[in-house]
């Protein structure tokens, strides 16, 4: 057998390594299942299909916010404005739809997510402001925008189509879960099969190299923050659909969990490593934990401590791979 054939053969063998890499994802799903089993053992009713649906429904909102957060973190950034994007989206949705109808509200809301996301991206890409600070400041500004727009009290209720998205079902599965599934497939394909995904990883790994290889870093970064803004307002809209109304502070409980979900999902906070499949499980894990603490009727103190400990434990579980370097 000649040398070149041998070489090509070994080059083909790459699937073995893919499986190995996927093991990281496997691990997180094992953790998720394990925790779910624990919750079920403590409270047998949690084994019901109803509860699983509830769990997925509740997780879907965080899961959708975590899509944007995952993309941003993969580029080596961080989006601290997701909570206020979500707020803004929710508030615009109800208030504008009362005044101008649902369609216009939808358009306004989605463009607001894209525009403010783009501003984040421009600050990070062109002004070289560190993502933490850029999005922190943007979050601050959005908070004010929301307050000023609503005088602190959003008016209006969810339009009918939103109520359907938030509470209706299709084939026995809630619409919100369907949307989540579709978006998840979309983002997983985006990351693994498209040039956009490839470029995004290359920026997260080394922006310099990426740029010198002809990647338009800035465009990609802006696009990523736009997507993050979009997904956050989308989550806001779905929450509105679910609750039927909006209020300021709706997104506050999503900020840190969105980061935690991504990290629990095995994506490196430094960028360049990871993907959405992990974050998805991360989001579910967070709500499984909440359901466990509810069973125990744990007070805030206990809940906070458990929440922190679980993040640390998950980190330790990953440490082997993460520290390979």
């Amino acid at each position: 057998m000649n040398m070149e054939q041998v070489k090509l053969k070994s080059l083909e063998n790459s699937s073995a390594i893919n499986v190995f890499k996927k093991f990281g994802i496997l691990k997180i799903y094992l953790v998720m299942t394990g925790l779910y089993m624990v919750s079920g053992l403590i409270q047998p009713n949690y084994f019901s299909v109803d509860h699983i649906m509830q769990l997925l429904l509740i997780s879907s909102f965080l899961g959708i916010v975590a899509i944007g957060q995952t993309l941003v973190i993969l580029t080596g950034g961080l989006d601290l404005s997701v909570a206020y994007m979500l707020n803004l989206g929710a508030v615009i949705m109800t208030q504008v739809s009362v005044e101008h109808g649902g369609t216009i509200a939808l358009l306004v809301m989605l463009s607001a997510g894209l525009v403010f996301g783009a501003l984040n991206g421009i600050g990070v890409a062109y002004l070289h402001i560190s993502p933490i600070i850029m999005t922190l400041a943007m979050g601050s500004i959005l908070k004010s925008v929301t307050y000023v727009y609503t005088s602190g009290n959003p008016k209006g209720t969810a339009p009918e189509f939103l109520r359907f998205l938030g509470t209706g079902s299709f084939l026995g599965i809630k619409m919100a879960i369907w949307i989540w599934i579709l978006l998840s497939i979309f983002v997983v394909v985006l990351l693994s099969k498209t040039t956009f995904g490839r470029k995004l990883y290359s920026i997260g790994t080394n922006a310099n190299v990426s740029y010198l290889s002809g990647v338009k870093n800035n465009y990609i970064i802006i696009l990523v923050y736009m997507l993050s803004g979009l997904f956050s307002v989308l989550a806001g809209m779905m929450l509105v659909g679910y609750y039927g109304l909006s209020y300021i502070g709706m997104g506050d409980t999503f900020l840190l969990p969105s980061i935690a979900a991504v990290v629990i999902g095995g994506t490196s906070i430094m960028g360049g490593r990871g993907g959405y499949a992990g974050s998805l499980a991360g989001a579910v894990i967070i709500y499984i934990l909440m359901s466990i603490t509810t069973v125990f009727d744990m007070n805030d103190a206990g809940r906070e401590i458990i929440y922190g400990l679980v993040i640390l434990i998950v980190l330790f579980l990953y440490s082997r791979e993460a520290n390979k370097r």
Binding site: L127, S130, I133, M138, I141, V145, G152, F316
Partner: protein, 342 residues
């Protein structure tokens, strides 16, 4: 003239030149204060100003140390809340137990500082020996510290001896605000010596290039442990100052110190990439963030705008440095464009 040039070439200037913009903004704010704050020139005016800034300034020192090592501490607010809750819970009982108020206060201070050190050390240990990213570790420990604070003080409250509040928020020699003295201590007796110590140098070296620091014989782990421990210690100092300002404890009321301290540090010219900047800038950054909202009150602007004002100031300050470069191409290659022609 020569002196000026010497100054421009001095290590102090080089280290702190990123902070200049922050001081310009601060100066502008103070001028506006002098025009709008009715009692600016009275004793109460300066006391009010120093009291407003001091806690965030101290929290920013904690954040500065960590950021310089290219880390970030998201648990600073929680540590302030924890130490604040402990102080407000134990200060009176201890004072009663030792039957001497001053002794009780001093014992409490030591306990609280020790708690801060332990919390910080814990951060450091997990980050250093687990080799995890600081941002996620401190996010987790913030939750834990917050939980512990809630156990200690399930509700805001508690109390401290009157003198404790009175002294730390009052004046000495009738016109020097104690907060100003505290600020001076933190700048001149804590920061400057620290900067000139081996530890300070190590912190900068690690932030600049960790591998280089390692092969130069810097003890990376030990330095990081120190940085996080000191961050805990200074957060505890922040907690004690907050206790004096509020005469009570609040387990969760301090969370904003985390993000504000990061904003203050960055506003003061310290980059999150580590190795560059320092506390001198953070003092200005923290003061800006604390004082600018006062202007809204003086001008009667609705408070709905206050977050936007803070955010915009932050963005403007950070953009100004970059704007001149926008026209030019950014240098990407390592051989920095500085061809020195012999």
């Amino acid at each position: 003239m020569n002196r000026f040039r010497d100054f421009l070439e001095s290590v102090f200037y080089r280290r702190n030149k990123e902070a200049i913009l922050a001081y310009v903004i601060l100066l502008a704010i103070l001028v506006l204060y002098s025009l709008n704050q009715n009692d600016f020139f009275s004793r109460y005016g300066s006391q009010s100003i120093f009291n407003q800034v001091i806690t965030l300034v101290v929290a920013s020192l904690a954040q500065t140390l960590v950021v310089l090592t290219r880390g970030i501490d998201l648990s600073i607010g929680a540590m302030i809340g924890l130490t604040n809750s402990i102080a407000a819970t134990i200060m009176e009982p201890i004072s009663n137990m030792v039957t001497n108020q001053w002794l009780g206060i001093i014992i409490t201070i030591f306990i609280v500082l020790a708690v801060g050190c332990i919390a910080g050390l814990l951060n450091g240990l997990i980050i250093v020996f687990g080799r995890f990213q600081p941002i996620i570790v401190t996010l987790a420990t913030a939750s834990i510290f917050g939980g512990i604070a809630l156990y200690i003080r399930p509700t805001p409250g508690g109390s401290v001896p009157y003198v404790y509040s009175e002294v730390l928020t009052g004046r000495i020699l009738t016109f020097i605000p104690v907060s100003a003295v505290v600020l001076g201590i933190f700048i001149f007796l804590v920061w400057f010596p620290l900067r000139r110590s081996k530890l300070g140098q190590s912190i900068y070296a690690i932030g600049g290039n960790e591998y280089s620091a390692f092969v130069s014989g810097i003890k990376i782990n030990r330095t990081k442990l120190w940085a996080y421990t000191l961050a805990g210690l200074f957060s505890a100092c922040g907690g004690l100052l907050l206790t004096a300002q509020t005469a009570s404890g609040d387990p969760l009321g301090s969370n904003l110190f985390t993000l504000n301290s990061i904003a203050a540090v960055v506003l003061g010219g310290t980059t999150l990439a580590g190795g560059r900047g320092g506390f001198v800038g953070a003092v200005a950054g923290a003061s800006i963030l604390s004082l600018v909202l006062g202007l809204l009150i003086f001008w009667g602007i609705p408070s709905f705008y206050q977050n936007a004002v803070q955010g915009l100031i932050l963005l403007l300050a950070l953009s100004i440095g970059v704007l001149p470069q926008l026209g030019r191409k950014l240098k990407f290659l390592k051989v920095n464009g500085k061809g020195e022609t012999p």
